[in-house]
């Protein structure tokens, strides 16, 4: 993959839901909504496309835990953020065998959210102590939980596709 457009094209083929966002406002170029089943294929695609894993993080929503994967590319500016909702049993397939750096990021996410990464080689606590496995500090309490709509820029998404140019003036 040589440019952002070819990345989008590659995703469209899979198909993966990809949306181009304004970098000046969001700090990344592509936002992606993934199904858990697509995760490994997605990672594999990025691996062949010479992306690197920037981070993995979680997001506790009323509907459950979302895990976000951010990738970027050394060769051209293309930072992408992928959201995956965890499976019903609070688990996701690991990508630690595709991006070895994911090993620690997944362990961290397990520490903070309790998300199980299936087939992870070594899912022991990383940052927390061994006996704090049940702490899951970043899970929010019931009243603080919000759903996805509450943390999404509603008005932006409506205008996103038709006219990205308009958005700049608003900012």
């Amino acid at each position: 993959m040589e440019s952002k457009d070819s990345v989008i094209a590659a995703f469209k083929q899979v198909p993966i839901k990809v949306q181009e966002v304004d970098f000046a406002q969001r700090g990344y170029h592509l936002e992606i909504m993934l199904e858990p089943g697509q995760l490994r294929d997605f990672a594999q695609l990025l691996r062949t496309g010479n992306f690197y894993l920037s981070f993995i993080s979680g997001l506790h929503l009323a509907t459950g835990i979302d895990v976000s994967y951010q990738f970027a590319n050394y060769a051209f500016p293309c930072r992408l953020l992928a959201h995956v909702s965890v499976d019903a049993d609070n688990s996701l397939p690991t990508i630690a065998d595709i991006f070895h750096g994911a090993n620690w990021h997944e362990r961290e996410t397990k520490d903070f959210y309790g998300v199980i990464f299936r087939d992870h080689p070594n899912l022991k606590p990383l940052l927390l102590a061994e006996d704090m496995e049940d702490l899951k500090p970043l899970l929010k309490k019931e009243p603080a939980l919000k759903d996805r709509a509450a943390i999404t820029r509603v008005e932006k998404i409506a205008e996103d596709k038709p006219a990205p140019a308009v958005k700049k003036e608003e900012a």
Binding site: G27, S54, G101, I151
Partner: protein, 370 residues
């Protein structure tokens, strides 16, 4: 000597850290050794874990400003920069041009002092005591300059959303210009004393070599990555602040060993000096603080802000929900990914080389633990 039956008779475990001179803080590495060869190094993190991300979620966003300085104490201003950057990006605020220049100037000074400290510490890891004193002498000058304007020497809390807390004065500009001259005059000495030292070269050349692909698998960023020949620097790749207005190079080396990372950092010192020079020349007049609503609420939505810390790519990912408290704040720290490479990189190495490798990765442990 304790032997581990299942790993073969003559392997033993050496516990390096959490208190060890060359783990640079409270990092513990469990080394499975065979004689002096490290067969399996496993870092153990979390001794300095403070859960900054939870702190960010549990209080209004301005209260996180001091925290930003306490993750990586060597590049506190760059962490400042990233944090105010992400809030500005999410809230749609723009800092004044002068403030952006001041941010860049202070950030680069911060980067310089971090690189200087690293230079001394790396050589100290290799057993030479003197260069760290010389680099500290230079570093003191930076700290003095920064102290005058920010009020602190290590954990700065200088930048605010919309600008910086205090405008710089002529004394600062003069001091910085003087420092640039001084630092340039010092570099030939380091060249002779460190780079040209035969023992030093033999200790770090062809040690800890890795390929661009390995870097990609582990998400390496920063000087270590540039040592493999990839000119990836957030300041160029995803320009932020006023960096596009400066003319500077991204030093790269091709060998990917510790020496390459060393050379890249040393040349980066010169590039930072160049940026400083240009920024001081172009410094615009005007207020150092934009008009920002007093009670700023974070709008719903998320934003990333990536900056180039001395150790690599630092990303703040902030999710707001319309209140003044972040819903989620993720901080991607460069050393975390850089260190995760260690088990693969240092397998089968001599203990001394492991120290050299960890020195060249330039680890700051509180940043990894957060």
């Amino acid at each position: 000597m304790t032997t581990i039956a299942e790993q073969g008779e003559h392997r033993y475990v050496l516990n390096m850290g959490p208190q060890h001179p060359s783990t640079h803080g409270v990092l513990r590495v469990i080394l499975e050794m065979e004689g002096e060869y490290v067969m399996d190094p496993q870092p153990v993190l979390g001794y300095g874990h403070r859960m900054h991300e939870k702190m960010a979620e549990s209080r209004p966003w301005p209260n996180f400003l001091p925290n930003a300085a306490r993750m990586d104490y060597l590049s506190a201003l760059i962490y400042n920069h990233g944090y105010v950057g992400v809030v500005e990006r999410l809230a749609g605020i723009e800092a004044t041009p002068r403030a952006e220049y001041i941010r860049v100037i202070t950030s680069e000074l911060n980067r310089l002092q971090s690189h200087l400290l690293w230079l001394g510490v790396l050589v100290l890891d290799l057993g030479a005591f003197t260069p760290i004193m010389y680099t500290f002498e230079d570093r003191e000058k930076i700290l003095d300059i920064l102290e005058d304007v920010t009020g602190s020497r290590l954990t700065y809390c200088y930048m605010r959303v919309g600008g910086v807390v205090r405008d710089i004065d002529d004394k600062f500009v003069e001091g910085t210009r003087e420092f640039i001259k001084w630092q340039r005059s010092r570099m030939p000495m380091y060249d002779k004393l460190v780079t040209g030292n035969i023992i030093f070269r033999k200790r770090i050349e062809q040690i800890g070599e890795f390929s661009p692909d390995l870097a990609r698998r582990y998400g390496l960023t920063g000087p270590v990555l540039r040592g493999t020949g990839i000119p990836y620097d957030i300041r160029r790749a995803e320009p932020y602040s006023v960096y596009p207005e400066f003319d500077f190079e991204i030093p790269t080396e091709t060998t990917g060993d510790c020496m390459a990372a060393y050379l890249v950092r040393v040349r980066e010192i010169e590039q930072s000096l160049r940026i400083l020079e240009q920024a001081l020349d172009k410094l615009p007049d005007g207020p150092a603080m934009a008009k920002v609503p007093k009670k700023l609420k974070l709008p719903a939505g998320d934003a990333c802000y990536a900056v180039e810390s001395p150790r690599g790519e630092l990303v703040y990912h902030l999710t707001g929900d319309g209140s003044d408290t972040p819903y989620r704040m993720k901080i991607r720290v460069p050393s975390f990914s850089n260190l995760s490479l260690l088990p693969e990189l240092c397998r089968g190495m001599l203990l001394s080389d492991l120290c050299a490798c960890m020195g060249s990765l330039d680890l700051v442990i509180p940043e990894i633990d957060r």
